[in-house]
């Protein structure tokens, strides 16, 4: 499956809350309808991005994927700016 995106945020190696704090900043720089791809290594980011996109009024969660990379898991979140 390939999901279209407009910008990538590399949050690998970052601890919570930075993947989400930075994603929030980046999404505000996108145009309406554009998609941000966030790559994180923090497992907790999966539930956090789900929860955040539910309460935030300007974003929607397009998809989430888990990839195996070098024996560790990579958590990828696609977020669209909606407002």
């Amino acid at each position: 499956m390939s999901i279209a995106f407009d910008k990538v945020l590399d949050a690998r190696g970052m601890n919570c809350p930075m993947p989400l704090v930075n994603a929030r900043k980046e999404i505000s720089k996108l145009d309406l309808g554009q998609v941000l791809k966030v790559m994180a290594t923090d497992r907790g980011s999966v539930a956090d991005f789900q929860g955040w996109t539910k309460v935030a009024k300007n974003v929607e969660l397009v998809a989430q994927e888990t990839e195996a990379a070098d024996g560790a898991s990579l958590y990828v979140h696609y977020i669209r700016r909606t407002a």
């Binding site: 704090v21 929030r24 539930a47 956090d48 955040w52």
Partner: protein, 407 residues
Amino acid sequence: MGQAITETQWSTEQLSSHLRRRHPLFVLDVRAREEFKRFPLEGPGVTGINFPYFEMLESGGLDDMVDSVVACVQRDLVQQLPQSAPILAVCAKGSTSEFVAQGLLRLGYEATTLEGGMQAWGNHYDTQTVEDSRDLGIFQISRPARGCLSYVIVVDGNAIVVDPLRHLHPYLELARARSLKVSAIIDTHSHADHISGGRALAGETGASYHLHPYDAIHPMDMVPASFAYEQLRDGQVFEFGKHQLRVLHTPGHTLGLVALLVDEKYLLSGDSIFIHSIARPDLGGQAEAWAPLHTRSLRKLLALPEPTIVLPGHFSTFEERDEQGVFQASLAKLKRDNESLVRLQRLGDADFVQFLMESLPQFIPEYVEIKRVNTGLASPAEDDAATLELGKNVCGLAQASAQGEVR
């Protein structure tokens, strides 16, 4: 931002000793709501709220985490936070809670953060002394966040470890500190709620590993264990100098469950009798067949002398601790105060079985996989092992008062 280190950071050891003293504590848990529901920080005197950090970011509306916490607290939480009592900020791994505590400190609250977060708390171990006389030691090693109990029996420089939990350091440290040789490891049964440290500890120390053969088969898969072990049998006696450990086969929670009597004085009851509750008979998926066995085994244990001290495999609330901080009680006391055991004494077998069947808590799907791990049929990586074990054990029967809370 970046160096969000507050001066007031609690280790899990500090949290544990705070809870042991039953001091009040207000917890601001900033994890996602589902995570909080699955594994809240519990303890006597603990109150608090769950307010996810991403909701703080949205409510505060600022780019900086600490700034957002300050704005959010002023807008949403002033009414709910205590003005003059400590607030413990808690998150999954202890980094986000540092930002939250910083925001609270900036507003003048007395705030601390839990180092390592709920992950560290879930992996925290306490060691309490049951008996420490010249020639016999019994230590209760617990994982307080999970409600799991294990034991180390010390005789003549030897350590016999019963139901060791997943992390080996508490046992190895105790053995090192007292110059003990870990000589035998006994699992009272194949655990469903947590991953046993038994085989790993045996591998690490060269000790023998003992299990009842009925529990060396996964009860649902009907596949035998993939590892070597020494078979426990009913009535078997381990002699250690003038001390002895007698094996009682008490099927019910599992088919191979055993209880261990130390010097006819201490009953390591595994998952049969707990302090406030009793074990559930349905985790092998055979409740109807196992509930009558469970009933018979419980009657066998109740027939032991009343001064026998019961040392259980689990607890569900900290209220079950005695004044010494140990989860233990005499059989006499349990026959009087344990609601399920009171029922057992009053009811006939058929009625008690019916009571068991009506008191089964929700089945936990992860438990099937955990049993696979404990039967050597699966070996999860650390992250997956931690996820399988997340939250408090649900090995006990649903208690009438807590029925709605069982997940």
